[in-house]
């Protein structure tokens, strides 16, 4: 009796182990030169990344390549790993990824690269040795500085307590910008009156961002300004300021998309905020990945290339390509862009 059950177990176990142990090679050649490029953002239910995806789609159409976007619903590094593995199994030609956690996804990305798949970082870079090129939307320092500048402009007298409502605590880009903000606040005497009291994390989740924003208002009653360098965070904070009636008393700025923030800019909840052309970011990322796949560039520092309608770019010594300077949105220009 026991043997029968044992043999069932053995059969099933053998089958699995055999496949795992011997298993035929799965596409040993790596990526192909046909353009099958996948975008893997921090999370899929994020309007910011949807806009970037539309840019990627535009580039795909221009180059007659394939485009798809996959990603986790929660912005954690751990959640991105299975997607990278799946894309590797599916033998895509390139992965364009925005990293929730630069180190967590590095082993999986390196495995993809070992198979010949090109890896391009965008928005938030994976570890340097786990990607071929990183497309940065703007100079990290510049992004941090412009936000401090904006909050100073908004707060009467440029003095008082300010707080930052960020996304996840490990996101490369967020930490780079926040560090730039801290450096700027410390070194530039113009901001001597401003005091950064807290960095809160909304995890790019509307609910968490709302609760964190409320908590900031409760724990720091003298708060004069909130900087939120993430679309989900800034719209949640704007909503909270309006609901609690603090709009106008506590200033708000950061990074957001014009469509989400239009109403708040027009009614004064958020006087100005910045961003870049997110669609162009996606376009450039796809184009760069395509050029890598086709072998037209290698990803080495100093290489120059032309990215379709966007023009010429050069890869800097760190393997980074800059899209351009950040763009400041105010009431008088917010109707110009639609995304």
């Amino acid at each position: 009796m026991r043997w029968r059950r044992g043999s069932q177990f053995a059969t099933a176990g053998m089958a699995i182990l055999a496949l795992v142990a011997c298993g035929g090679s799965s596409g040993g050649g790596g990526g192909t030169t046909a353009l099958n490029i996948a975008f893997l953002p921090k999370a899929v239910n994020n309007p910011y990344f949807d806009v970037a995806a539309s840019g990627g789609q535009e580039a795909a159409t221009a180059l007659s390549g394939q485009f798809k976007q996959v990603g986790p619903s929660e912005a954690t590094g751990a959640a991105q790993i299975p997607f990278i593995q799946t894309l590797t199994q599916q033998n895509v030609s390139a992965i364009v990824v925005s990293a929730d956690d630069p180190d967590a996804i590095a082993p999986a990305l390196k495995q993809a690269m070992a198979k010949g798949i090109k890896v391009v970082g965008y928005d938030s870079s994976p570890a340097k040795d786990a990607r071929n090129v990183f497309i940065n939307q703007a100079d990290s320092k510049g992004i941090g500085v412009v936000q401090v500048q904006m909050v100073c402009d908004e707060i009467p007298g440029c003095a008082g307590e300010i707080a930052v409502l960020s996304a996840t605590s490990t996101a490369t880009n967020q930490n780079a910008w926040i560090q730039a903000m801290k450096d700027e606040l410390a070194s530039n005497s113009k901001y001597a009156g401003l005091k950064l009291v807290k960095v809160a994390y909304g995890n790019d989740d509307p609910q968490t961002s709302t609760t964190e924003a409320q908590a900031l208002l409760t724990s720091y009653p003298n708060l004069k300004g909130i900087i939120s360098p993430t679309t989900v965070g800034i719209s949640a904070a704007a909503q909270v300021l309006k609901q609690t009636g603090k709009a106008g008393k506590v200033q708000l700025t950061g990074l957001g998309t014009p469509n989400l923030m239009r109403a708040f800019v027009k009614d004064g909840t958020c006087k100005e905020f910045a961003l870049w052309n997110v669609k162009d970011l996606g376009y450039l990322a796809y184009y760069t990945a395509a050029l890598l796949v086709q072998g037209k560039i290698k990803g080495n520092p100093g290489e120059k290339f032309t990215a379709g309608r966007l023009g010429d770019y050069t890869i800097d010594p760190n393997g980074v390509v800059l899209l351009g300077p950040p763009f400041v949105f105010k009431a008088d220009n917010i109707d110009q862009l639609n995304f």
Binding site: Q8, L19, G24, S26, S73, A78, I81, Q90, T170
Partner: protein, 331 residues
């Protein structure tokens, strides 16, 4: 186990094997990339932490209790590992320390359930929150990386020359050990007895409290081990590692034929169930179905797996009993 329970269990395991094969067929029809060694390797390595936690949980549920805190113990272990490593302590010291912490957490669960007599559902609900909270206190929002190459290779890589992930080896050894202990030793017999009828077990001399406490400690240690492996696989120690795991782990155990009320269940069934869910999820993932949508299938599977046998039992109980003895023929 009683003969009836044994018979039902074997039937259940056969069903699981059929399901497993069916899902493998489904997976290969949905995507050409499914049937490959490296895919199975990936699929398996993603499962191993949950699989390791499912083994002691199966024993706990058979014994009539439950442990919801496993995922938080995993997170706490990861956080402690990261914390001690960041302090500069070497891994050969950190890992055993973390396992001891797991044992302590399990001990707390065990004592609250056996000495204080509190229901395990609520106790482990509390420790689910408590241990996750402690993980946050220890490590905060940061993550610790920069692990030695051998550690990362162990978590993420395969045994050289094969496609077998190292953690699979660990799990295989543990599974065989659990199988042996549950089926062939007095420990296993006691566990089933406790699950079937706690009072009867106590009257026949079994130290119920000690056994249950031991099981909770075992769960704590293995959850901590899973935490170490997860940290290696992600090469990142974080307080929120393992968040959301407990549902999959409990589902694996229940789908594996373990009765939620205790007294019935097998390790073979649980192992099969782990792979059934893993293969199903993997097949759907390769077909670009998002993990959250996959949950509809997993949830339905769980409900049907319990509703099915329950309905079968009710129908067979309702049918009039045949004569149990043949009439004696007079010569």
């Amino acid at each position: 186990m009683s003969t009836l329970a044994l018979a039902l269990s074997r039937r259940w395991e056969s069903l699981l094997v059929i399901l497993l094969v069916a899902f493998i067929v489904l997976g290969s029809s949905l995507s050409p990339f499914f049937l490959s060694g490296s895919n199975f390797s990936d699929l398996t390595s993603n499962l191993m932490e949950k699989a390791i936690m499912a083994l002691p949980l199966a024993l706990i549920i058979i014994a009539g209790e439950i442990d919801l805190s496993v995922e938080s113990m995993l997170g706490l272990a990861s956080a402690l590992l990261g914390f001690t490593y960041a302090l500069g302590w070497p891994l050969w010291l950190d890992i055993p320390l973390v396992l001891v912490a797991g044992a302590t957490g399990g001990l707390l669960n065990g004592l609250l359930v056996t000495r204080a007599g509190l229901p395990s559902l609520v106790v482990t609900l509390g420790t689910l929150a408590l241990y996750r909270g402690l993980a946050s206190v220890v490590l905060g929002p940061r993550s610790v990386s920069g692990w030695p190459q051998w550690f990362t290779d162990f978590g993420f890589g395969d045994v050289p020359g094969t496609l077998i992930p190292w953690p699979l080896l660990v799990f295989a050894v543990l599974a065989l050990a659990f199988l042996f202990v549950l089926n062939r030793t007095w420990i296993g017999r006691q566990i089933y007895a406790i699950g079937k009828n706690k009072e009867a077990a106590r009257y026949s001399g079994i130290d119920v409290a000690k056994m249950k406490t031991f099981l909770f400690i075992l769960s704590g240690v293995l959850s901590a081990l899973a935490g170490v492996i997860l940290t290696a696989r992600f090469s990142s120690a974080r307080a929120d590692n393992g968040q959301g795991f407990v549902l999959d782990v409990v589902t694996s155990v229940l789908l594996g034929g373990v009765n939620i009320f205790g007294g019935e269940g097998t390790i073979v069934g649980v192992v099969l169930a782990i792979f059934v869910i893993g293969v199903l999820r993997n097949g759907l993932t390769l077909a670009d179905v998002s993990p959250d949508t996959q949950s509809v299938a997993v949830g339905a599977l769980l409900i049907l797996s319990v509703a099915g046998p329950t309905l079968v039992r009710r129908i067979s109980a309702a049918r009039p009993r045949r004569q149990l003895t043949k009439p004696v023929s007079n010569s």
